[in-house]
Amino acid sequence: MLGIGLLQGLAVTARNLIGSFHDPKRFVTTQYPEERTKLPEAYRNFPFLVAENATDPMGTLRCVACQICEKECPPQCIYIEKSKDKKPDANGKMQIYPAIFAIDTAVCMSCQICVEVCPFDAIKMDQVFEFAATDRFNGLVLDRVQLAKPNSYFHGIHPTEAAEVDGRLAAARKAAEEKARLAAAAKAAPKPPPAPKVDPPAE
């Protein structure tokens, strides 16, 4: 009969209207900014540089300015200049570090390819999205001081990933130490006596 479909539709909307008062599935607004939805761990926004400890971020950056992320970045929003000198890294090895590391967040498209290609776990994705500046050119370019955040922060936002990275780096460090120890032991061990010179048999 003409009108039955309309009445069914009215019933659906009435159910939603009444449901919106008692059923959370029928009232799905999060009243931002008083309430916030919990972001999943995998959520990514703009990158940040990982520093091993918070007291000296510039001195403990994992980044060695290999410039792989700069090359692989699709919109080319990363600008890196290598340093002229070297500094010891977490393993004590002398590495160059980035004198300039700038990301233009107006250009960055949060694709996270820089994170995937970094061999040193030095750049990771941050989760800050409430990020506004008053100058839309320089205000949105982040330099290495603004980008550097400590490893503890990384643990706070991406716990599983940070634990996995720390585990891998610790294992690599242990392997490197093991190798160094063996090499040092080999060097320090007394040299075996030189083989006696065999005089050529007298003619």
């Binding site: 003409l2 009108g3 039955i4 479909g5 309309l6 069914q8 539709g9 019933a11 659906v12 909307t13 939603n16 799905v28 972001l39 999943p40 761990e41 995998a42 959520y43 990514r44 792989i68 692989e72 970045c73 699709p74 498209m109 949060s110 694709c111 996270q112 390819i113 995937e116 290609v117 994705m125």
Partner: protein, 390 residues
């Protein structure tokens, strides 16, 4: 016929309405709908010539969202082009990613592990669900329902976007497929959440259909409107649910049998009339098939690596050659044609945009109908300007 030069009209932002004199019809009215218009699904312009209220001529003008995607592809490495494909049909990033990954894998002869094939099917069917749900919402929104079906559609879409966010890190710009598999392996918690969503989606569709499918006003607004004949559809290269609504049995998931689809059972619904109502109903039926596909894929998901161990991330240089990879996206056949000369960037990178090719028949569908119907017909073709303009 003393019609003003539409070419000039399209390039210069002129008056939105002007009078046109046609010897056959008399005084006609030429209206420019868009590019700022709530019903045109993006920055899209239609120059419609009206005789009273009937459409006599319709010229679509697009290009307002052109971003040089294909040229950028020539200057970017294969991996770096993947995030750009997210932004083509921005509703369906997972399927765009898959089509591109398929093309590159064909070009490079790269194999994909089974687990990745199943995960790709899961994500593609989730994308199909959200696309078709939103299309039903937008169609009704254009038809005048004050946003209610649209809000219900978006409420369900949010659940799927939450799944995408917890898996890939981003709701829409997922950048998820890689050449040789997927970037992230879904963990059991995610799979359980996906299973819950798939099981509950049928109930949402029942409620949605109760609101819409039997609605007499919807039937009066969409049945018999915008009939697309199968001959025209096939001749114009139309693909996707629109083609199947006209009765042509052509679904790439069956025809090409790519991915894990040959191992899954599903049916392809076909329409008989090819009008707007059929295009809407076919999408609803496809959603039900997608739910069944999701449940099967989640149940049969094999263990194994998510990415082929021999796949290279950086320094990817496929041998010289060409490949065309295509999948049945929610809007139609989305394909990527790549020509490689052995370098890190492709020589030619071409996207086959289903929305654009489906849009070519817009005039034929709208002729003879009133302008209110033209809006509804455009809604049923399901275009996304990111894909039309690239």
């Amino acid at each position: 016929m003393n019609v003003p030069d539409l070419q000039a009209l399209a390039s210069v932002p002129g008056p939105a309405i002007r009078a046109v004199h046609d010897e056959f019809h008399g005084d006609l009215l030429e209206v420019s709908m868009g590019p700022h218009h709530p019903s045109t699904h993006g920055v899209f312009r239609m120059i419609v010539t009206l005789d009273g209220e009937t459409v006599v001529k319709l010229k679509p003008v697009f290009g307002y969202l052109h971003r040089n995607h294909e040229k950028i592809g020539e200057n970017t490495s294969y991996l770096a082009s993947m995030p750009y494909t997210d932004r083509l049909d921005y509703f369906c990033s997972m399927t765009n990613n898959w089509a591109y990954a398929l093309a590159v894998e064909k070009l490079a002869g790269q194999a994909v592990p089974d687990r990745a094939e199943y995960v790709r099917v899961i994500l593609a069917e989730l994308t199909r669900l959200l696309n078709h749900t939103c299309l039903a919402g937008f169609l009704l929104q254009d038809g005048g329902a004050s946003g209610t079906p649209l809000m219900y559609a978006f409420r369900e879409r949010e659940k799927i976007l939450d799944l995408f966010e917890s898996l890939s890190g981003s709701r829409m710009m997922c950048n998820f497929q890689r050449f040789g598999g997927c970037r992230v392996d879904p963990d059991p918690a995610w799979l359980a959440a996906a299973r819950t969503l798939a099981d509950g989606y049928g109930r949402f569709l029942d409620e949605f259909e109760r609101l819409l499918t039997g609605n007499e006003i919807l039937m009066a607004r969409t049945q018999g409107i915008g009939r697309l004949s199968p001959a025209l559809a096939v001749g114009a290269g139309v693909t996707g649910p629109i083609l199947r609504a006209s009765g042509v049995d052509y679904d790439l998931r069956k025809v090409d049998g790519y991915g894990a689809y040959p191992r899954l059972k599903f049916r392809v619904p076909l329409g008989d009339h090819g009008d707007t109502y059929d295009r809407y109903m076919i999408r609803v039926l496809e959603m039900r098939e997608s739910i069944s596909l999701l449940q099967q894929a989640l149940a049969d998901l094999p263990a194994g690596p998510i990415m082929d161990p021999k796949a290279k991330l950086r320094g990817f240089r496929p041998k010289a050659g060409e490949a065309y990879g295509r999948i049945e996206g929610p809007k139609g056949e989305i394909g990527f044609y790549l020509i490689s000369e052995g370098g890190p960037n492709p020589y030619r990178y071409r996207v086959r945009p289903p929305s654009l090719i489906n849009l070519t028949i817009l005039e034929d569908l709208c002729l003879g109908h009133s302008i209110a119907d033209a809006v509804v017909i455009l809604g049923s073709i399901d275009i996304v300007l990111g894909e039309v303009d690239r």
